[in-house]
Symmetry: C2
Subunit: 456 residues, 2 copies
Amino acid sequence: MKKNNIPTRIYLTEDQIPTTWYNLRADMKEKPAPLLNPGTKKPVTVSELSNVFCEKLAEQELDNDTRYFEIPKEVRDFYKMYRPSPLVRAYNLEKALGTPARIYFKYEGNNTSGSHKLNSAAAQVYYAKDQGLKGLTTETGAGQWGTALAESSAFFNLPLTVYMVKVSYEQKPFRKFVMETFDAEVIPSPSMTTKVGQKILSENPGTGGSLGCAISEAVEKAVGGIETRYVLGSVLNQVLLHQSVIGLESKAAMSMIDEYPDIIIGCAGGGSNLGGLIAPFMQDKILGNNDPRIIAVEPSSCPSLTRGVYAYDFCDTGKVTPLAKMYTLGSSFMPSPDHAGGLRYHGMSPIISKLYDDGLLDAVSVEQTKVFEAAVLFAKTETILPAPESAHAIKQAIDEALICKETGEEKVILFGLTGTGYFDMTAYNAFKEGRMTDYIPKDEELKKEFDKLPKL
Amino acid sequence: MKKNNIPTRIYLTEDQIPTTWYNLRADMKEKPAPLLNPGTKKPVTVSELSNVFCEKLAEQELDNDTRYFEIPKEVRDFYKMYRPSPLVRAYNLEKALGTPARIYFKYEGNNTSGSHKLNSAAAQVYYAKDQGLKGLTTETGAGQWGTALAESSAFFNLPLTVYMVKVSYEQKPFRKFVMETFDAEVIPSPSMTTKVGQKILSENPGTGGSLGCAISEAVEKAVGGIETRYVLGSVLNQVLLHQSVIGLESKAAMSMIDEYPDIIIGCAGGGSNLGGLIAPFMQDKILGNNDPRIIAVEPSSCPSLTRGVYAYDFCDTGKVTPLAKMYTLGSSFMPSPDHAGGLRYHGMSPIISKLYDDGLLDAVSVEQTKVFEAAVLFAKTETILPAPESAHAIKQAIDEALICKETGEEKVILFGLTGTGYFDMTAYNAFKEGRMTDYIPKDEELKKEFDKLPKL
């Protein structure tokens, strides 16, 4: 029977905000491959990582055993300003599709930073401040992470330098203005402020930059700075750990209405939202308590899971980071500049990569025109204008709901609505006016990148 | 004793969304002066108004007696997508100010339209659809109303034409793109599509337009269209009626935590948010059940309450609307183009005007640089980047909280946080870079406008 008496928005109470993050690695039967020091090719240690990350985060990064990490009181207090986020029943989307499926989304765009990135930003800034550091550096692509980090840095009063991919810096001045309003210094990348930036600029004077290149600059700046560390908004184990609040809240809220998802869908760039959303459900799957289908949705223009290789690679273009074993398109892969929004990272979270390699989750890639079509339908029916990134999950949720329409199955679909599209109106306009195109990299193009992967 | 065990966000449950709107006029001892037909100078009738507004709305506009109007089920279902909105305890702002006051804000920016305007937009579109109309016209200044109306029109599937003040149309292309994403037709005003637009353009070819002029065009288009009506996002009695959900929810949420505001603060342009927020509290005041201090905050560049006259005036520049008795700066008053954001309407809601004239509420005007200073402090402490309009209320709330710091009084302050500032980053940037200036109209300038008021 279709449950129609469920509230549209299901809110946990404040005292139901998780008090611990859940570390999925503790329950994985095979652990993700360790990060390697690119010089020695040996697993990196906490001490080595502590040059780049603050200590607590270095520990969290390498800890495959501790199942729960206590969320510091200061971070919980920060979370209270925008959490718990709502779990929403998409009644109007269901109606528009005529599906018997019940569609839910966990809405993380419900804060001014506009995305889920704030969950890890607050944690990372807090630990840095607590360690007595004097500054942070980071990179941002579409700008969601930079915005979230700027807000957190302003709140905890810690100086922040953001290397913003130049093409975004130029196309999205408003994103820059937001970060600057929160006192962040925003530098277009590649820049002359770092050696790696100087090198890239001398080789490609006209380049619009890339996320991998901005990472290289931010890391160099952090390692060279005084009591300065680097922070990253995705890919890392620590980030997925912090983002587990999304999944923990989702599971608790679904349990309140006596539901459990048959299908869980998340968009996947570096894996921060997907990893957080699925964590407690994947635990159920690994422990044999339940068997939801879990789907990662990536853009066809940057298809690391569906067309990449599972190999050790650098996390950045400049090759200054440790090596991570992940699904990758190669650290010098550049997605088409025509691709709108984020999800343009060459690799994928080592945790997600391992789960995918173990067959515990599925992956699909979708073309952006189809994604925006889904986004507009969603906006008109549910009144939320989604971020293009999030709309990848919407597209897949719609497809699954339409399959249910065919089969008559009343499946429960849960997807992550990671953010809003306020800063992506240029892309929405291009779609509306029919100027948006799709881009699928050719096999030869990918092969060329794979040939450049580091040899171990 | 300072209550520190109150949750940061207080949510009502879905079944606590009001089932009726509250019509403050029913409890006002003296009613607002009636709208007059500018030809006959007699009070307009429902039948006359029904040429401009759909019937139900014309009835609501003129009904001074019905205390509660049932909210149609379809509108309640729409509300469920984003209501109840949270009442938030601004713990971090209190801490930053070091005030013993308890500061609460009702947060209406919690939906994709980004403001409280959606509350009336959904109602107005629903009634138009229910009457079988074929289209709607409206105007928008800063863009909040147009966005909310476009979302509602897309949801209820009714064509919409928006006349957007030209200077905003040019400065805020993203606002336009949002409306277009929701299938609205957006026309910069003044335009050649109406007689009044043609006239204004012939007299002032280079004009950037004004809200009053855009209203004239939208009304002309509606009256001349087939089964088309005009809708307005502020000033009107019907709008304040719909916006009473803000106040009803606020009062219910405060009651849940055993609080009652000593001071209630709202920003005031046309009065839609202020009128909605204060409605049930003003009822208490009128009936002698309680005596909160109520404060309207307007920009010093467009000070209709604090420096205007209480007189009959046109609601638009083109003088096509009925005459309303209100505090006004004159229907041809144009606020400085340097003024950022909304709140640039020449008049004030007849209800608010009457309450102010009766001494039931206070009004203050503030300069925009001070407003942005407050906005940035709020953003950094509460992580919400406020709309410049809303920041007028924040500024006053901060001032009141600082007085409490002096006196040691633990007052309870409630203000309306009407929206977010995502589309106002140009203004934030100007403030950040010290390029923002203040503008206060000279007495002579205002006097010239007052001399032009219609003679009755």
